[in-house]
């Protein structure tokens, strides 16, 4: 079999998109049209739909896409999604970290003197779980973008966020205090497609494994 074998794949826009499309090229999936179109979302001929990474699990769970590619960070934030996690694609390696402004650790200070620390994040469930597990009281402030701003403006003492190179953190004068987990891209599947399209799915997984081993 070549291409996606008739399966619909949700491809994440953003940082992971280019690497994902490169992998698809190696599987014989035509991606030229996807690469050439920034605004178009649905590519029926190739069997590809594009969306923000955090929506991939939503579409795949509902069966609006049979399979999808998204970061482990997204799956860890939405652990109750009924999707199969089939393969670690090792694309887009990142680390989920706790960071604060450089110098004295403001989080530790807040915890010691105020009994609770304020943490801004786009990942409220991951952050809450991390501080619960490590026995610290934290008040989670959910923000939608540019989390780095929160400790600089006094919205929070620290942040929980995903970082690849650490450049954005550094440029905003933040330092990593703790690493929570490493995240890479995963191939996920809808539970019904996993049964009804088993042959096409297993074949695709095998070819992805082979392509990753070659790389």
């Amino acid at each position: 079999m070549t291409g996606l074998g008739g399966l619909t794949l949700a491809v994440p826009r953003g940082a992971m998109m280019r690497e994902t499309l490169d992998l698809l090229d190696r599987l014989g999936v035509p991606t030229a049209e996807v690469r050439a179109n920034d605004r178009k979302l649905l590519f029926e001929e190739a069997g590809i739909v594009t969306m923000r990474p955090s929506d991939v699990a939503t579409y795949v769970e509902a069966g609006a896409a049979d399979i999808g590619i998204t970061g482990k960070d997204v799956l860890a934030e939405q652990p109750d999604r009924a999707v199969y996690e089939l393969l670690d694609l090792r694309l887009g390696p990142c680390v989920m970290v706790v960071a604060t402004t450089a110098g004295e650790d403001r989080l530790a200070e807040a915890l010691r003197r105020l009994g609770v620390m304020r943490v801004a994040t786009k990942y409220p469930r991951i952050a809450a779980r991390h501080f619960e597990r490590t026995g610290r009281q934290a008040e989670i402030v959910e923000v939608k973008g540019s989390v780095e701003l929160a400790p600089l403006t006094g919205l929070a003492e620290g942040i929980v966020d995903l970082t690849a190179t650490g450049t954005t953190l550094r440029e905003n004068g933040l330092v990593v205090r703790e690493e929570i987990f490493a995240s890479t891209a995963r191939l996920i599947a809808n539970p019904v497609a996993h049964k009804l399209r088993a042959a096409a799915l297993d074949d695709l997984v095998a070819r992805m494994r082979a392509a990753l081993a070659d790389a």
């Binding site: 769970e61 509902a62 069966g63 609006a64 049979d66 652990p79 109750d80 009924a82 999707v83 199969y84 996690e85 089939l86 393969l87 670690d88 995963r186 809808n190 539970p191 019904v192 497609a193 996993h194 049964k195 009804l196 399209r197 088993a198 042959a199 297993d202």
Partner: protein
């Protein structure tokens, strides 16, 4: 100007058009149930918490609790299997098995916000008490397919697995008890990446690692059982009992894990290409009735009538996954 009075999220009013279509589905299923000797029962939506959670609190998992006038804790049932286990042990103390029951009833679950989940769902299902596997399992599956055929669903498939298969495989490869819980958790949460990590950490040797990773990913016809060895004997026995019409609908799925904890043997789920989620499912629970005082083997299943309705409408409009 009119006023909008909302209902709780995950609940809704059913108006005559939908009610008529849902009614037709329910009547078609009832016809099959009655014809096969399954008697319809009704149990209260409210039960005592201490009765419903007897033996296994996680299995009952009631989401809604309230107090009655005397301060007793009441819960809304989260499925019909546990109330019927109670009925069998209290109302059928001396009746000789097998006992066959069917129901059309609402069950209540908690929901996550903004996920389109139902708090209140209409289930139609059966319980077959006192017929052990594989014969009882085959009867339950036969009735499941007959009910779906009667409703008019064309493209459904039944995923069939065994809750005891993977634990038996772990035993066969002498996996230490400490790691079992973690491994089964990965399987239950459908995380094969996590499963690979946990199994490889055991350093069992190539053959055992291969078996523990590949077997739960096997799906398909009877040939899928070959890789599992003696651990799949239970499933082989069920397959041997299936009629050709049922066998045609079955997809063997060696990694199938249902979220409820009371299953002891065969488990199954119903799929249709018109819907991204299972329409329902069931399995064997040979230990559940014993907790209520009548130690009888049992199997049963429930279909979500609203999802069945959506799949029917989808099939007629030519939708597929």
């Amino acid at each position: 100007m009119s006023t909008i009075h909302p209902t709780p999220s995950g609940t809704r009013d059913v108006l005559p058009d939908e009610m008529r279509e849902v009614g037709a589905i329910v009547e078609a299923m009832r016809g099959v149930f009655v014809e096969r000797g399954y008697g319809e029962v009704h149990t209260p939506a409210l039960e005592y918490e201490q009765v419903l959670t007897r033996g296994d609190p996680a299995a009952a998992d009631p989401a809604y609790k309230l107090f009655d006038e005397q301060g007793n804790v009441l819960v809304l049932r989260s499925d019909m299997t546990i109330p019927i286990a109670r009925v069998v042990s209290t109302r059928y103390v001396t009746a000789s098995p097998p006992l066959r029951f069917c129901y059309v009833a609402h069950a209540y679950r908690s929901v996550r916000p903004q996920r389109g989940q139902d708090r209140e769902m209409l289930q139609a299902g059966i319980e077959l008490v006192g017929v052990p596997g594989p014969q009882g399992t085959a009867e339950a599956l036969d009735l499941l397919c007959a009910a779906l055929d009667a409703v008019g669903l064309a493209g459904y498939r039944v995923g069939l697995g065994d809750a005891s298969l993977y634990p038996a495989l772990l035993d066969a490869h002498a996996v230490p008890a400490a790691a079992r819980g973690r491994i089964l958790h990965e399987l239950q949460t459908r995380d094969f990446v996590g499963l690979e990590r946990e199994v490889e950490a055991l350093r069992l040797g190539a053959e055992a690692t291969e078996a523990l990773l590949r077997v739960p990913q096997r799906r398909g016809g009877p040939e899928a059982l070959d890789a599992a060895g003696p651990a799949a004997d239970g499933l082989r026995a069920v397959v041997a009992q299936l009629s050709p019409e049922v066998a045609e609908r079955v997809i063997l799925d060696l990694g199938l894990a249902r979220s409820l904890t009371y299953y002891t043997g065969a488990v199954f789920e119903v799929y249709d290409a018109a819907l991204g989620a299972p329409l329902g499912g069931g399995g064997r629970y040979d230990d559940l009735l014993g907790r209520f005082g009548r130690d009888l083997p049992a199997a049963g299943w429930a279909l979500n009538v609203e999802r069945l309705h959506i799949a029917l409408v989808g099939e007629r409009r030519g939708e597929r996954l």
